[in-house]
């Protein structure tokens, strides 16, 4: 069963992305693309003549995709949460390395920003994992899923996760790493055709990754999981449509400032039963 879900993960992510594009268009008063648009894009990209700058660049991009898929797969199979976060870090590092592997300014800026956003969200993810451990005494995602919903006691960490989501999904106000109007997509600028495909699908996997993290807070309650995911989805899109992109220093200051405060408070609270 897990295997099926792992194979389906990118497709579900694609659908989610499709829904999101429609929702975003509707929030802007537009009709928007069809639901299956991401898949059309995917097929079209497969059909392009392959052009590349250098093999290392493409390879690192593909490795980013594979590693991300592994990270998602590890969540689905229910392994150690902390380990999953680090596999995800590895995936991001592949992306950064691919950005740096071409002699292209925008790609470099994008990769550098990607690194800097990592400074902002990686500590928070680790602290979130710490929160789960403190509450349960284990990192096992499988057990977390079987346990009680933890949103009640970890709501501040959930707040910290909400700060991370726009960064990962490249949404306003924290989309500086992609910043289409400044650096033309950043890391992905040198990819084309079928090679861009991998990065494009990696984006879908990011959706799955963050929403699976959201679901963790719901524990064994399916109802709560659905409510959480849909409300987070709506919230993220509303904020995306109501804010401008902030600069990287602001991004780090805001995320770390608010996120660390929330996490530390919550950890103290959980650790000492306050």
């Amino acid at each position: 069963m897990n295997t099926v879900w792992i194979i389906l993960a990118p497709l579900i992510g694609g659908l989610l992305y499709g829904v999101e594009r429609i929702v975003r268009a509707r929030m802007q008063g537009r009709k928007g693309p069809p639901l299956l648009q991401p898949f059309y894009d995917m097929f079209k990209l497969l059909d392009k003549r392959p052009l590349l700058v250098n093999p290392a660049h493409v390879l690192l991009g593909i490795m980013h995709f594979i590693t991300l898929w592994i990270a998602v797969g590890l969540i689905i199979t229910g392994t150690n949460l902390l380990f999953v976060i680090f596999v995800h870090l590895l995936a991001s590092i592949f992306l950064v390395a691919s950005g740096f592997s071409v002699r292209s300014v925008y790609s470099h800026i994008g990769a550098n920003r990607e690194l800097l956003t990592m400074v902002a969200y990686e500590p928070l993810l680790i602290l979130i994992a710490a929160g789960f451990y403190l509450k349960n005494g284990y990192f096992s995602i499988e057990l977390i899923h079987e346990g009680e919903p933890l949103l009640g006691s970890l709501w501040m960490l959930f707040g910290a996760l909400l700060l991370v989501i726009p960064i990962k999904l490249k949404k306003s106000p924290f989309d500086a790493a992609e910043a289409h109007q400044e650096i033309v997509g950043g890391v992905e600028v040198e990819y084309s055709g079928v090679y861009f495909e991998f990065l494009y699908m990696a984006k879908w996997l990011e959706y799955i990754f963050v929403y699976l993290l959201v679901i963790l807070f719901a524990g064994n309650s399916v109802m709560m999981a659905i409510v959480l995911v849909s409300s987070v989805f709506l919230l993220v899109n509303l904020v995306d449509n109501a804010t401008a992109r902030v600069r990287i220093p602001h991004l780090i200051a805001i995320t770390l400032g608010i996120g660390l405060t929330l996490s530390i408070l919550n950890l103290i609270g959980v650790g000492y039963g306050l």
């Binding site: 929702v23 268009a25 509707r26 929030m27 802007q28 008063g29 537009r30 009709k31 928007g32 899109n237 509303l238 904020v239 449509n241 109501a242 804010t243």
Partner: protein
């Protein structure tokens, strides 16, 4: 920010502003400055429009098979390039018989494809004119 959030939310629930063109046509305003149209039978071949046209989108070139208009003494043929026209209407204002010989319609110009040779053909026309 809250205004935008509210706006985004209400937009989500209300129908979009989008006109589903080409499925539903866009209503064009009256007196839209569209294609220049030519009524050969009323033309007096004064060539004022050719002179007035800023980009030179109207050219009268010599032809071997002239029309039966008696005014066409030099056996000229009217040639018009909608892909060169800037739709300013100067030609119509210059025309002594507007609405009969030359008028600006409300039709939108057609899309050209490679086979139409819109540019190369016009270089040929200009070449004929020059020689």
């Amino acid at each position: 920010m809250w205004y935008s959030v509210k706006k985004a939310f209400t937009n989500l629930l209300s129908p979009p502003q989008t006109i589903d063109y080409p499925a539903t046509p866009i209503k064009r305003v009256e007196r839209y400055r569209g294609l220049i149209e030519y009524g050969e039978e009323h033309c007096i071949y004064c060539l004022k429009c050719e002179k007035a046209c800023p980009p030179g989108a109207i050219l009268f070139t010599h032809t071997d098979t002239p029309t039966e208009n008696p005014k066409n003494k030099k056996s000229l043929a009217y040639d018009y390039n909608p892909h060169l026209c800037i739709y300013c209407g100067e030609c119509v204002r210059a025309c002594p018989k507007p609405n009969e010989a030359l008028w600006q319609s409300e039709k939108k110009p057609g899309i050209g494809v490679k086979e139409d040779r819109v540019n190369e053909r016009w270089f040929e026309v200009e070449g004929r004119k020059g020689s």
